[in-house]
Symmetry: C2
């Protein structure tokens, strides 16, 4: 049985909720109580004290990007549709890995952190965080000018890793309408079979 | 032909230099001139304006973690030795992906940023950066208490992604001797066939 340790308002958790739904994988969701991610029990699962964590019959995986890798590799199969999520080609895989790094760093420390400040009162360096956000949003918008998806000709886990905190960027005071190619890409993701919205997520 | 766009003092570039050497891959190295990473030409290769970039016969890959994925997947083969760098098992792959995220985020924004401040005068929030560094170093040290490598029973690209900025941490004012399991792991990496040191790198 797959268990997702979840926080409803976390964009990182939303990546996993999306992937589980796209792959139609049966699972149970455990919403963490306030502060539970710092409990000794939970730190056994993830010493970083963060959600999400996935438990698949005792195999414990931390980090939203890593969970996407796991689900795509293990459950998306070798079908054409499977190859979309997790290509076998080294170059395509590397391009996906580059966007997973961007999700882990620039997006986490740009748009996601701005939202954490505006929505949850996190203490941040607003000007630096804004600069990080503007840079990464500009790069992604230009990238999507000439392609429908972040990597190759179809959706992949790169899109799923990048999507939630860009869709949530308006909650951090960002005018996402200034990035029309990103908004178009939102629409392509939102019509994928199995798409689930985030509670209260702003829809362009 | 493989070309590495390189900065000699960059720990991110050192990840790639290590991997190219471990795999004994013929390549040429182009050291970037000061500021060249922001030139229009270079931004074509990497819109983030950062080194390293790998060019393999026209296939361009940005991001040090992504380059490790590419080299391991494409060039480490299906041999037992290949499986060490890039396992076929979904759970092991996910554990590697989790450490690649840690390298891209906590290590880049902890020990690597402290070094950038001390060595290159980067303007940072010292107390927050120090906190990030202490947390990630403590987690890695505890992880290595019971295992020789970050993932599984042998070296993988997880170790290569994490190693350089931990080995360079003393240049950021960190007493790495306080993390004895990390220092032991340094020694295991440094005796691997093909290991190359970083110019001027502190050796515990």
């Amino acid at each position: 049985m797959i268990t997702l340790y979840n926080m409803p308002l976390s964009g990182n958790c939303h990546k996993v909720r999306l992937m589980l739904s796209f792959l139609a994988l049966p699972h149970r969701t455990v919403d963490l109580a306030s502060g539970e991610q710092h409990s000794p029990d939970y730190l056994q699962r993830n010493p970083f004290g963060q959600a999400p964590v996935l438990d698949d019959d005792g195999l414990i995986i931390r980090d939203s990007q890593a969970i996407l890798v796991y689900l795509a590799k293990r459950y998306s199969g070798e079908s054409y549709s499977g190859e979309q999520w997790w290509p076998g080609d080294a170059y395509q895989l590397a391009q996906i890995a580059a966007w997973l790094s961007t999700a882990a760093n620039e997006i986490a420390n740009g748009p996601a952190l701005l939202r954490a400040h505006h929505k949850f009162g996190r203490d941040i360096d607003i000007s630096k965080t804004r600069q990080t956000a503007d840079k990464v949003l500009g790069i992604i918008d230009r990238h999507l000018r000439s392609s429908d998806w972040l990597v190759g000709d179809s959706v992949s886990i790169a899109d799923i890793a990048v999507y939630p905190y860009l869709a949530l960027a308006p909650e951090g005071g960002i005018d996402i309408g200034a990035y029309p190619n990103i908004v178009d890409w939102f629409h392509r993701i939102r019509v994928l079979p199995g798409y689930v919205p985030m509670p209260g997520m702003w829809q362009a």
